[in-house]
Amino acid sequence: MTNPSLRAEPTRRDFLFIATGAVGAIGVAATMVPLIAQMNPDASTIAAGAPIEVDLTPIAEGQIIKVTWRGKPIFISHRTKQEIEQAQSVKLSALPDPQSDQDRVKAGHDQWLVVIGICTHLGCIPISKSGEYNGWFCPCHGSVYDTSGRIRQGPAPANLPLPPYRFVSDTKIEIG
């Protein structure tokens, strides 16, 4: 490059190259947006994830039913007196993930426990009414949950999560 015109105005030349490169790079980056966005949940999946209503009347005391919301199993447990007592009497300091039973149910609806039935370890579905604490037992790697769905033993780090829900009436909840 012996052309003096190029040496005389290096900034202008460099600016042109940098601008072209930058605009090109922006174009490539923008192209990635649709390619990435298309893998997010589509509109029909999002719409299908709308809140669902569950009628609680058919659930007998001591029974646990499983409903599906957004493809996840939701356990609705109609707890017995004894189960509630068990859940409430535990010392919080004895829990790996301390949370009181009151914080896990809606006020005035102590008998209804609603949890997402997915083990917080690696996502298996725990078996109801089993394990040492009479709550849930996860067969995959042996995590044990109590009647409040709290982790008591095993590799899982946290309690069974609570889905967003509210009582529409005393016998009906809306999940989501």
């Binding site: 042109l16 190259f17 072209t20 090109g24 709308a50």
Partner: protein, 704 residues
């Protein structure tokens, strides 16, 4: 790719790696230091453009597969799901379908360039033959992909093309049954086509690698057709060829994006928005435009087997080109006689393409036969003979001599292109008004708020149109691809979520099975689709004497009318995409008293715009049948327009987003093209204007 690498690694880690796998050296030699003739014109960038297009096709294709379902019952709807629900799904699909067309467009330029400049001649015969193989693979891939959306054209293309093999004597039927995996085109056919459509692009990639390898062994041909003699004749691939390729690729993207964003369905067929129906063949069945010349050749021959042989021969003959052309001179530029015949051949191919889309009868058929004969004569007689008798012009003594001498010719080419474009545009505007009065009158071209590059829907019109649909059309016609939630989505009629939910709640939706194992009905929810008025297609057909009312979800894209030449060319520039709505509006208002000389079959009605005029649907609209709340005129004409606009939205719910994004992309590409152009000019400055050619400060100051 041959000889010791010019790449000298400096970093010790790189040295260590190169000693074990010299891939960086390979890349360096192939795409950086590789010498390319300095006089290449823009036609030589199409190889790079094609490589980029192949990548785009593969990337978008892999993404489409994530949402597509290869099943005869689900394929059509899964494509529509992609277009409606998946984030940017419409964009990815339009990129893929228009990308295929662009791929062929580019490959045809690439091939004609090779023919004009004799790029197939010694020592590039193998390079050329690999190219012919790639072209064959492309045709197969394009065909297989076209079947996947499982519309009417997909289905019948699959039937017709596979039936080509039934022409084979004795084994024909067995082979076709084997191709189908059944006794007709069906689910096994679709699934294997899907598998192969995914496989073949990677086979193409493999052949492209061979193509590039062969190219880098023998070196590029160039417009002068003389081989490089000194280092002066070539420039390194990077930055010279790289920048030139990129500049022209970005410029090419402008065309590609114009189609994708503004006329995405222009190159497709309306009939392919009708789900496949094995018992009804569309009236006009034509392949995609890029197969038309070959389709014409097939139809030119009145014998089944000979037709198929001619079809394949017309492609295979290309592979023999290196030996059919007897001239030692490569570039057509120095062959006065060849030049003339070359352009005759190009015209022959274009005309064959045009005839391929016309009915095979009368004058069209005779013309097709003459042109088919010429197609083969060109290869078998013209090329060998003119090579022997023609007296070529003197060749330039070197590439450098050519590069520095040809500025006049370039201006002439540009002037000719501009003139041709002007003639084309002039022709199309002048003949737009002079449409011949055919059997079926053409629907009047109405003004729509959603036409053109900045078109948006008129919300009030969509709401009125929905009202007309609900109160009139919905009694017989389904809208099964739409969900109630769509009514409240941006870019649509602009109902509130509460209004849409209320519409949904009015509908009865079948759900279940419940805990007792029974199906039950419940009020609709936002996420539900519009329920069909009939439990199944048979019930619909039975209720209407066999003529089932079509679903209206994509009807605005599934109907069109013949635009005629040259209007259809002009439509690309005016972005005319409203053939469907114009037709539907005309149809809804086109009921007339039966003319005395027309025999109307029982149970049908006379409609001016319906092909054949006898339509089963009685006039659905009449003045005053729908009461508008917004004071719009309650006339048939107004109802028809409103419901058509609504159906356009139903067929293309992301139309507004498409046009909006399209504008941004076009602006971006224009800026990038400009920048690329100046960068390219700057880098090439020394090559195009060597210092010894332009001494003194004078020229430099004028360029600064």
């Amino acid at each position: 790719m041959s000889g010791p690498s010019k790449f000298v690694p400096r970093h010790p880690a790189l040295k260590w790696f190169e000693a074990r796998l010299p891939i960086i050296g390979l890349m360096y030699d192939s795409f950086v230091s590789y010498p390319t003739p300095r006089n290449l014109n823009f036609l030589w960038t199409f190889g790079a453009i094609l490589s980029f297009l192949l990548i785009i096709q593969i990337v978008t294709g892999v993404v489409l597969v994530m949402h597509y379902t290869p099943n005869v019952d689900l394929a059509f709807n899964s494509v529509e799901h992609l277009m409606r629900d998946v984030n940017y799904g419409w964009l990815l699909r339009y990129l893929h379908s228009n990308g295929a067309a662009m791929f062929f467009f580019a490959v045809y330029i690439h091939m004609f360039r090779g023919m004009y400049y004799g790029s197939y001649k010694e020592p590039r015969e193998v390079l050329w033959i690999i190219g012919v193989i790639i072209y064959l693979l492309m045709m197969a891939t394009g065909f297989l992909g076209y079947v996947l959306p499982w519309g009417q054209m997909s289905y019948w293309a699959a039937t017709v093309i596979t039936n080509l093999f039934s022409a084979i004597p004795i084994f024909g039927e067995t082979i076709v049954t084997w191709l189908w995996g059944g006794y007709s085109v069906g689910n096994p056919t679709l699934t294997r086509f899907f598998s192969l459509h995914y496989l073949l692009p990677f086979v193409i990639v493999a052949f492209v690698v061979l193509h590039v390898w062969a190219l880098h062994v023998v070196g590029q041909n160039n417009p002068a057709g003389v081989e490089p003699k000194s280092d002066q004749d070539t420039v390194p691939f990077t930055p010279y060829a790289t920048l030139k390729d990129l500049f022209w690729f970005v410029a090419f993207m402008l065309i590609y994006m114009w189609f994708t964003f503004y006329v995405p369905n222009y190159l497709g067929h309306a009939d392919n928005y009708i789900p496949a129906n094995p018992s009804v063949t569309p009236a006009h069945i034509v392949p995609e435009w890029y197969y038309l010349p070959f389709y014409a050749i097939l139809r030119a021959i009145p014998d089944k087997l000979m037709g198929v042989i001619a079809l394949f021969a017309s492609i295979i003959v290309l592979a023999f080109l290196p030996w059919l052309d007897t001239s030692k001179v490569k570039s057509g530029r120095y062959r006065p006689l060849f030049k003339v015949f070359f352009w005759i051949f190009v015209a022959d191919c274009l005309l064959l393409g045009w005839l391929g889309a016309k009915p095979a009868e009368g004058g069209y058929l005779i013309a097709t036969r003459i042109l088919t004969a010429w197609y083969f004569l060109h290869f078998i007689v013209v090329l060998p003979v003119i090579g022997l008798m023609e007296k070529p012009l003197p060749l330039p003594e070197s590439i450098t001599a050519d590069a520095l001498a040809k500025h006049g010719a370039k201006k002439k080419v540009i002037a000719a292109t501009v003139a041709a474009l002007a003639v084309l545009v002039g022709l199309s505007t002048s003949t737009r008004t002079a449409q011949a009065a055919g059997e079926t009158p053409k629907p009047p071209q109405l003004t729509w708020s959603f036409s053109g590059p900045f078109g948006t829907f008129d919300r009030a019109q969509l709401q009125r149109g929905f009202q007309v649909y609900k109160e009139v059309c919905a009694a017989c016609h389904g809208l099964s691809l739409l969900s109630f939630r769509n009514l409240a989505e941006p870019g649509g009629p602009g109902f509130t979520t509460a209004q849409a939910a209320a519409v949904a709640a009015e509908a009865k939706v079948k759900d279940g099975p419940n805990d007792q194992g029974e199906m039950f009905e419940r009020p609709g929810r936002l996420a539900d689709r519009f329920p069909s008025p009939y439990p199944n297609a048979q019930a619909a057909a039975f209720a209407f004497n066999g003529a089932a009312p079509p679903d209206l979800s994509v009807i605005a894209k599934a109907r069109t009318y013949e635009r005629g030449f040259p209007t259809f060319v002009f439509d690309i520039f005016t972005q005319y995409q409203e053939a469907g709505v114009d037709y539907i509006t005309a149809l809804l208002t086109g009921y007339e008293d039966t003319p005395a000389d027309f025999k109307l079959p029982d149970g049908s009605n006379y409609n001016k715009y319906f092909p054949g005029h006898a339509i089963a649907m009685p006039p659905p609209l009449a003045d005053g049948v729908v009461t508008y709340a917004d004071g719009s005129p309650q006339t048939t004409a107004q109802y028809a327009k409103d419901v058509s606009a609504f159906l356009m939205w139903a067929a293309e719910p992301h139309l507004e987003a498409r046009k909006r994004l399209g504008f941004q992309v076009m602006i971006f590409l224009l800026v990038l093209t400009g920048l690329m152009y100046f960068t390219y000019e700057k880098v090439w400055h020394d090559v195009k204007h060597p210092p010894e050619e332009t001494p003194g400060q004078g020229t430099k100051t004028t360029r600064a």
